[in-house]
């Protein structure tokens, strides 16, 4: 569909009706506050007696949540990051955990993650140990018994790697000497906490999305499926998109800000394709387009008041006047000097009138003059310059340079009748004559050109008056031609950038031809002389092969632009069908531009405003990023989307089993990445299309998609299931670090 078709007509231009945008500001992970050590929980736990309390750790890749099993909420929520460095000045080691890392720039640069990027598998055990240290410290474990004397319940990824589990178990028993340890899967804890018995658990979290069918409180892990897409990947994707959208954005776009942007602005579209195709349409774009204002410093331009400006102008004028006066005075002085000189030479001239030749020579020598002619010339020159100067001082019209009715008398005399001086004179006269003639010719040409243009204009006007239709048609054709020329030029420019294009190849051929001593073409004709240059157009080849020489191009560009402008002006004036909207400028106007709507929203963009340069516009991205979980191919993930996975589990793997309907009745959503608006409706509608008609389909969300895994684990700790599943220190010592007791909410041994 053509988006411009839905554009409103010209009369409701947007500027007038649109309010200034609501600005959102970027947020990012930062240091919040110091977390103190709280001993009360530990005292309470001890007072409850052995085996009734556990430390519950939800070891998630976005944040590690830890607390006491008898409490409602986790005490700590720590980002799984760690920084350690040595301060050289103080010769001291520093270690920071969680958001504390952000408190110091050095620490920030040493930040390391516990998890392998984009997965829920712990890869850095030094970081993991420090995280656990932090947790036990802040929870007030005093270590009186030389270890952590509380059982541990911990979550892990679905189908966690045996090596990762083994390492964790080793750390727990060897380093912290815990009495017992039990593992479970976070999403299953969440489901259990929300009283799920049989259903399909859809857990979309920070690093991945899992779909696990659960039958009678027992997870069918062999049917579990993982999609490698979660909040982290979404943030990375958005970052990639925005960097491409604003390649020269002056602000810093980091992944942490992206997570906040996704959380605050993105939502799942109920009908993606339908909503998407209208997303950049004009109507309502101001609501769909969210503006993120990054910090910037306004360049302050000192605005001068009217008065100041006037004063400055006056000052300028004043100084100009002074300069003029000075110049006039100088000129006058010079003039006087010249006049005196003239008078003197005239006097000399008078004096030599009736003198002997010898005397004349003496006088002239004393004046440094060669002969009488020279004296006369000097006088003439002085006289002329004085007259000119006077003219200038008075400021009247410059006197027409009087054509010296120079005598060309000698020109007709043959050379042999002249002496040396005569010959020189003759040469001089010839030169004078030719230059005078040339000047006259040029003048005549100029006049003829002027007359021709006038004539053309007259004919054009006449034609317009007599045959307006033909005239207009002609103008239109000219306009179209100019446009085509501009387009051709742009295309040529673009093509020359591409080595393989026809234009470039032709150019290379011309260069080769010029460089070659025996151009192929000529040889074929059997003509040795190629006559290059005989035709003036031949030289055009050098213009053709010149590339990147901007000066010439600019000129041409200017020229075409000017032609276009005059043609459009003519048409605007005389053609009733040609309105402002038809001009090229109006057609390339930003209100018509889809790209403008995409990059800058529904308002004009002022590239000189620092505020606007520092703005990000989120529009299509708001639904494009969350959509990936339903269509992973959008972001290049070669996996099926969650609807397809869920439908595959429900219709193929559970086909025929009586459980299928029960599972359908409870599709359960958990995990931070499932919090998008419309996630449940979208999944329900998607599944409905793939299931038999009339299937009883119910989707529900976890009460708290983020904290319920921890709460579920806390609830489970202390119950019978936990007691059976926990591996004690004795069992560990006897059976080794690979030993695991399977339980309904945990991974199977593999």
């Amino acid at each position: 569909m053509v988006p411009s078709a839905t554009w409103p007509p010209q009369d409701c231009r947007p500027e007038a009706s649109i309010l200034p945008p609501h600005l959102y500001y970027p947020k990012e992970a930062h240091y919040e506050k110091f977390t103190g050590t709280d001993h009360s929980g530990y005292q309470h736990a001890k007072s409850r007696g052995v085996g009734r309390t556990a430390i519950v750790i939800d070891n998630g890749s976005s944040s590690l949540r830890a607390g006491w099993s008898f409490e409602e909420n986790p005490r700590l929520s720590v980002a799984p990051i760690f920084a350690k460095y040595k301060e050289r000045k103080l010769n001291k080691h520093y270690s920071f955990v969680g958001a504390d890392v952000y408190s110091d720039t050095t620490a920030k640069s040493h930040m390391r993650h516990a998890f392998e990027a984009g997965t829920g598998i712990v890869a850095n055990w030094d970081v993991m140990e420090s995280l656990l240290d932090y947790v036990f410290l802040k929870m007030g474990i005093d270590g009186a018994s030389g270890g952590v004397d509380m059982p541990i319940v911990m979550t892990e990824a679905v189908a966690n790697l045996p090596y990762a589990r083994k390492s964790m178990t080793e750390i727990m028993f060897e380093c912290y000497s815990v009495p017992s340890l039990a593992y479970g899967i976070d999403s299953l804890f969440s489901y259990d906490y929300n009283n799920g018995k049989t259903g399909l658990v859809v857990s979309s979290s920070h690093s991945s999305t899992h779909i696990i069918p659960v039958l009678k409180q027992k997870a069918m892990l062999i049917q579990a499926t993982r999609l490698n897409w979660g909040g982290l990947q979404s943030a990375e994707y958005l970052q990639k998109l925005l960097r491409l959208k604003y390649p020269i954005f002056p602000g810093k776009i980091n992944a942490s800000q992206m997570e906040y942007l996704i959380r605050d602005h993105c939502y799942l579209s109920q009908d993606y394709d339908q909503e998407l195709s209208k997303y950049l349409d004009w109507t309502g774009l101001e609501d769909r387009d969210h503006v993120i204002q990054y910090p910037y410093t306004e360049v302050i331009e000192v605005q001068k008041s009217e008065e100041e400006l006037a004063r400055a102008a006056e000052k300028r004028k004043e100084s100009g006047r002074r300069l003029q006066e000075q110049a006039a005075k100088m000129r006058l002085e010079k003039l006087i000097l010249k006049e005196e000189e003239l008078e003197y030479y005239r006097d000399v001239q008078r004096r030599i009138i009736d003198q002997t030749k010898k005397e004349i020579k003496r006088i002239l020598d004393a004046e440094d003059m060669k002969d009488e002619v020279a004296l006369e010339r000097t006088i003439k020159e002085l006289d002329k310059s004085i007259r000119e100067a006077r003219q200038k001082n008075i400021g009247g019209d410059p006197i027409e340079e009087e054509v010296e009715e120079s005598n060309y008398s000698l020109l007709d005399t043959p050379d042999d009748q002249l002496d040396e001086a005569g010959l020189k004179q003759k040469r001089h006269q010839r030169l004078m004559k030719s230059s005078v003639e040339a000047r006259q010719r040029a003048k005549a040409e100029k006049e003829a050109e002027k007359a021709r243009i006038e004539e053309e204009q007259r004919l054009d006007d006449e034609k317009r008056e007599t045959d307006i239709k033909g005239w207009l048609a002609q103008r239109r054709n000219a306009l179209a031609e100019t446009k085509a020329k501009m387009k051709d030029r742009d295309r040529l420019k673009a093509d020359l950038g591409n080595r393989k294009s026809l234009a470039s190849q032709i150019r290379m051929k011309s260069i080769a031809n010029l460089a070659s001593d025996a151009p192929t073409k000529k040889r074929r004709r059997g003509n040795d002389d190629d006559n290059f240059g005989a035709n003036d157009d031949d030289w055009g080849v050098y213009r053709q092969i010149a590339v990147g020489d901007a000066s010439g191009e600019d000129e041409e560009e200017e020229d075409l632009g000017a032609t276009l402008k005059t043609l459009e002006a003519d048409l605007l004036r005389y053609d009733p069908d040609f309105t402002e909207q038809h001009t090229l400028e109006a057609q390339t106007d930003w209100t018509k531009s889809l790209i403008h709507a995409f990059l800058r929203g529904p308002r004009p963009f002022d590239s000189t405003s620092q505020a606007e340069v520092h703005q990000l516009h989120l529009n299509v991205e708001r639904i494009r990023v969350p959509e990936v979980i339903f269509q992973p191919t959008i972001a290049g993930v070669d996996q099926a989307g969650i609807v397809e996975i869920a439908a595959d589990i429900l219709t193929h793997r559970l086909n025929g089993s009586s459980a299928q309907e029960d599972v359908l009745r409870d599709v359960f959503l958990t995990g931070g990445n499932s919090l998008f608006r419309n996630f449940d409706e979208r999944l329900r509608e998607g599944l409905r299309g793939m299931l038999p008609a009339g299937s009883p389909l119910v989707t529900r969300r976890a009460k708290d998609a983020v904290l319920d895994p921890w709460r579920g684990a806390a609830k489970w700790a202390g119950g019978g299931g936990w007691k059976e599943a926990a591996v004690t220190r004795g069992e560990y010592a006897e059976k080794g670090s690979d030993y695991l007791k399977e339980n309904a909410l945990g991974n199977a041994y593999s």
Binding site: A159, R226, S593
Partner: protein, 193 residues
């Protein structure tokens, strides 16, 4: 040496307070000496697992015939070691084969098989690799690489998909490297190996 400002002092106090390195951790076992090379990424872990399996299979020449994957499946596992008779029957036949499993590549299959044949558990397991979702069977829709809108066209030069004429104009102004970045966002870029 410059005199530290009040701000710098406050910051120093803060980071001293936040530091956990200097805090005593009595709950830690002082004799705990972790393996220096315990940090491994998933690729290494999986590689190690394969190597371990291979080396454990190598010396026992007598089972080489049985270890050849046979199409019959389950039955061959019993003949390798008598001790590991499957305790659990194979999963109910009414359940359809796992589609994800079907589309795994051969090396994963072999690894999977070896893990199973090594004898501890005989029921098919969910492993980190085999629970990964298979490629989509649905026909993927095309979206504009620049704007994200539905795209009906592809530029043959850059292979970018675009929504309309105006976007095409933009596509043509992009350099090769920028076009490649757009393709990368969709996972369609050329990878030189």
């Amino acid at each position: 040496m410059t005199v530290p400002t009040a701000e710098a002092i406050a910051h120093q106090e803060l980071i001293d307070k936040l530091d956990i390195h200097s805090i005593q951790k009595p709950f830690r076992n002082p004799h705990w000496k972790p393996n220096q090379r315990r940090n491994k990424n998933i690729k290494t872990i999986l590689g190690d697992a394969v190597r371990k399996e291979v080396s454990s299979l190598m010396p026992t020449k007598d089972n080489s015939g049985a270890a050849t994957p046979s199409p019959a499946g389950g039955s061959s596992t019993t003949s390798i070691s008598g001790s590991s008779t499957p305790a659990n029957p194979p999963p109910s036949t009414t359940l359809q084969p796992n589609l994800a499993q079907a589309s795994r590549n051969l090396s994963k299959l072999v690894l999977e098989r070896n893990m199973r044949t090594s004898g501890v558990s005989t029921a098919p397991n969910a492993t980190y690799m085999n629970i990964e979702s298979a490629p989509s069977l649905a026909h993927g829709r095309h979206y504009c690489d620049i704007t994200g809108l539905p795209a009906s066209y592809t530029d043959p030069k850059t292979r970018l998909r675009y929504h309309d004429k105006e976007v095409f104009g933009v596509v043509r102004t992009l350099g090769q490297s920028v076009a490649e970045q757009y393709l990368e966002a969709r996972g369609a870029h050329t990878v030189l190996k």
